[in-house]
């Protein structure tokens, strides 16, 4: 059997807490941004921030940063597929 056990990387409480503070800050940021009355355009802004937060959670809380290459690739594929599903649908919606 192929048993290449990835050695476990222990993330200290401290670094986890830092990430947490960062996430809280970003949350505050989105709320603040949304109050600036930039109209619908800020959807992209909030999404960008949300994406960053998601990135942090995945990389540190979910330890993706310390996983092997395989998992990262698979995650990428899954997200790509979702993006494609949405993207191709818009070929219909935008040109109707």
């Amino acid at each position: 059997m192929i048993m290449t056990e990835p050695k476990h990387h222990i993330i200290g409480y401290g670094s986890l807490t830092k990430i947490w503070l960062l996430l809280l800050f970003l949350t505050g940021l989105t709320v603040w941004v949304s109050r600036q009355g930039i109209g619908i355009g800020h959807v992209w802004g909030s999404l960008a921030i949300a994406a960053t937060k998601a990135g942090l959670v995945i990389a540190f809380f979910m330890q993706m940063r310390y996983e092997g290459r395989l998992l990262r690739w698979l995650l990428f594929v899954a997200l790509l597929i979702l993006a494609i599903f949405i993207g191709l649908t818009f070929f219909d919606l935008l040109y109707r």
Partner: protein, 200 residues
């Protein structure tokens, strides 16, 4: 696993991630629908979004993020072999889940009192885009709430196994997977929050 030669943590983790992908796409379908209708009714969505209870939304965001921190810490703790801390942290997480759901309950009853729920007379009378927005809101958040419930239960079970000592520094893949699932619940909410509460 019964008839399995020897334990395969990496395999278990791979399996869990694959499962998370399916969850991702499950919600993905709803987000696809959301984006489609947002493109069609930007104005109605903005108006409806502005009427959401931002306080609840923000509060719940903070709660979920913090709970995520707690499970993440639990994973660290188990590796350090600090059993009691693990239990405390998991307890904290489950508490967060409970509070989150309670807030949801308050929020939903508030909405329903305002006569806002799928197929409500008020929505059917209002502009089309609005009822679409709220229907999507109830479905997405409802589905997410269901996941919070499941995740909470899962972590409770994990906590139990930790107390029994079935999960320990030498074998904690179950805890890890439970944590992964909980983080997914958090992830989904991270996107629900701006899309439904901050659109204006």
């Amino acid at each position: 696993m019964s008839s399995q030669p020897h334990r395969d943590d990496a395999g278990a983790k791979l399996g869990m991630w694959l499962f998370l992908f399916t969850e991702l796409l499950l919600f993905g379908g709803l987000f696809l629908l959301y984006s489609a209708y947002l493109a069609r009714y930007p104005h109605e969505f903005a108006v409806a979004g502005a009427r959401m209870h931002l306080v609840f939304g923000t509060l719940n965001t903070v709660i979920l993020i913090s709970s995520s921190l707690l499970v993440a810490m639990a994973v660290t703790a188990i590796q350090k072999g600090e059993r009691r801390t693990v239990l405390l942290l998991l307890g904290g997480t489950i508490l967060c889940a409970a509070v989150f759901l309670f807030n949801k309950y308050l929020e939903w009853s508030a909405e329903i009192n305002r006569g806002i729920y799928p197929d409500s007379p008020r929505l059917n009378a209002g502009p089309p885009g609005e009822s679409v927005f709220y229907s999507l809101y109830y479905l997405t958040v409802g589905l997410h709430g269901l996941h919070v419930l499941v995740g909470g239960t899962l972590l409770a079970i994990v906590a139990l196994r930790v107390r029994q000592g079935a999960i320990h520094a030498g074998n904690f893949v179950l805890l890890e997977n439970g944590a992964l699932y909980w983080h997914l619940v958090d992830l989904v909410w991270i996107f629900i929050f701006p899309l439904y509460y901050l659109i204006l």
